[in-house]
Symmetry: C2
Subunit: 353 residues, 2 copies
């Protein structure tokens, strides 16, 4: 077995020879190679020119023994493809200067045609698969409907979620209709990514953290379930669900139907596994800033996480959120080595390895 | 029984005639009376002139049937009393333009003398008790050591906690010494507040949310335990511990030793109670933005929370965080009425009421 297999086998709860590891935002500013290319091209150019997206995607794979590649893109390209302007400002996150705000404007939104409106993403996946040549699997991704809804309704990164929750509470039909449109858009986008060659799909629900469990259950869960069903009916690839607030919603997240739940660092992964049971794989959950720990402390931290998470098959090491731009590169190499040196769980549930 | 007793009895796990309720930031911009006085005085003036602090503290008690008053102040007055400049800028949170950053500068910090350096807070409590004349109890408060440490180390509201975690991971002795100084400062400040007449004390640990459970256990828990012990040894008043991230740390929070744990809205309060057991009271946990729900939805939301939390004695209704400045005032009145109309748990643990 090699880097080519570990990640997908872990997603499918199969035995692996070593704990697979990849890192959210593994292609990013912490690498000199990335900063060099960003000196010549804007973030959006990297997303929209498939050859550049592939070049950037490969950088961390050449530098570290990572077990998966992830499409270089942004969750808001889908929103832009729906006709909503998105600006990426340095150091302050995306801004949507004129998003639809009235129920009528929201109702008029349509799911884009992936091949026509997001062809550059599908092309990056096709080129990426070619360039990877089976070295490691390629993960596609999209934002979750609720998270995309908050960007639209707040006009950018949410501060207090007031506009989102006002619509959700006061005009639940308009909110539900927006969620349905976004669910359809995300589903067809993810299906198209799988068709283009993505071998796993991660759904980022960054802002579900805003919701009380009862509200997640009432306003979000059914859409997520439909999304997962629709993707699965057309694409036989593992689906990973990540939420920055997953820790507080763990009991509900297992109902979404994803193959893998990816956790932030604010939960004991042993407890998370106990909550999810042995039929759902787990991904996570190192605090990205733990990469600033001295090596011997980092090693202990990593081993503790693997110990807690790895008692059952179906474990993928990752950060609890994107890597910090000022992370020391040598620490990333050390992290990957340390994870690979941990003994994975080899036993299948209820049987011998 | 009346508003004079409910809150303190609930803190002490005793039976009550109605579920007590108060709201974090109940004196605030959502009230016209508050905006009027803020038109004439800065936020800091309100904090530092005891007569104004008392006037503002009383505003929500005159308007709503709340069961407790809370000192009008800010957690950073303690930091300022340590000789660190704090600026309050409109709409962007506090800024510490020149906080100590080197280990030496941090080590030279000293706990202030409450009577000498924070006399205005103690005077506001004395005057407040007089003005309340037993109508409802008065809650004093302070920031938790970790939360104050993040403000100092990040120079204001934390974005990514990089400076805090770098110090914590890379110079754990310097971080520990800062935590010890802050623990001593908070302990003596809270003891002085109790001596001045505060009948309960709430400790705000807003930024503990940044920490993985293992890091909270390693770097914060012992300080919190010492803080609670030191306050308790000198003051016979209930201690409430609030963390905006409490939900993910619930299993650890019960080890702190507080009488009451106050939760944000990102946890099912039934699960939280099960985790804490029947000997620790619980406060919370309505999403502040749920006050934008239509009345009939809000009523259901409130009743569901009370039902889940109120199966044991020792429950205080509150928001999961401070009230939003644009909250409709009529909804606050409705909320308080609704909570009081809920049947409280009258049975003591293991016996009939």
């Amino acid at each position: 077995m090699s880097r080519a297999d570990r990640f997908l086998k872990a997603c499918r709860l199969e035995s692996v020879d070593a704990v697979p590891v990849w890192l959210m935002r593994q292609a990013g500013r912490y690498m000199q190679e990335y900063r060099d290319i960003r000196g010549r091209h804007s973030f959006l150019e990297l997303c929209k020119r498939p050859s550049l997206a592939v070049e950037v995607m490969l950088q961390p794979l050449d530098a570290f023994e990572l077990d998966a590649a992830i499409l270089f893109s942004d969750i808001l390209v889908l929103v832009e493809a729906m006709g909503i302007e998105v600006r990426y400002e340095e150091r302050q996150g995306p801004i949507l200067p004129d998003p639809p705000r009235t129920p009528e404007a929201l109702r008029s939104l349509r799911a884009p045609d992936p091949e026509e409106d997001l062809g550059f993403v599908l092309e990056a996946i096709r080129l990426g698969r070619e360039a990877l040549a089976g070295r490691v699997p390629l993960i596609g991704f999209a934002g979750a409907p609720f998270t995309l809804a908050t960007y639209i309704l707040e006009g950018g990164s949410p501060r207090d979620f007031l506009s989102t929750k006002k619509l959700m509470y006061q005009l639940p039909d308009a909110f539900g209709s927006l969620m349905m449109t976004l669910t359809e858009a995300v589903a067809s986008f993810l299906r198209a990514q799988a068709e283009a060659g993505a071998q796993a799909l991660q759904i980022f629900d960054t802002w579900a953290v805003a919701l009380a469990p009862a509200d997640y259950e009432r306003y979000v869960l059914a859409h997520m379930q439909r999304l997962v069903e629709e993707v699965r009916s057309a694409a036989d690839v593992p689906i990973i669900y990540f939420s920055l607030g997953a820790s507080t919603l763990a009991g509900l997240l297992k109902l979404v139907g994803a193959d893998v739940i990816s956790f932030d660092w604010k939960i004991d992964l042993g407890e998370a596994r106990a909550l999810l049971g042995p039929r759902i794989a787990v991904q996570g959950n190192l605090d990205p800033l733990a990469l600033f720990q001295p090596r011997e402390v980092l090693e202990r931290t990593v081993r503790l996480i693997v110990e807690k998470a790895g008692r059952w098959p179906g474990y993928i090491f990752n950060l609890g959120h994107g890597i910090h731009p000022s992370t020391p590169v040598d620490r990333v190499a050390f992290l990957v080595e340390t994870v690979h040196s941990c003994l994975p769980c080899a036993r299948r549930e209820g049987g011998a390895g």
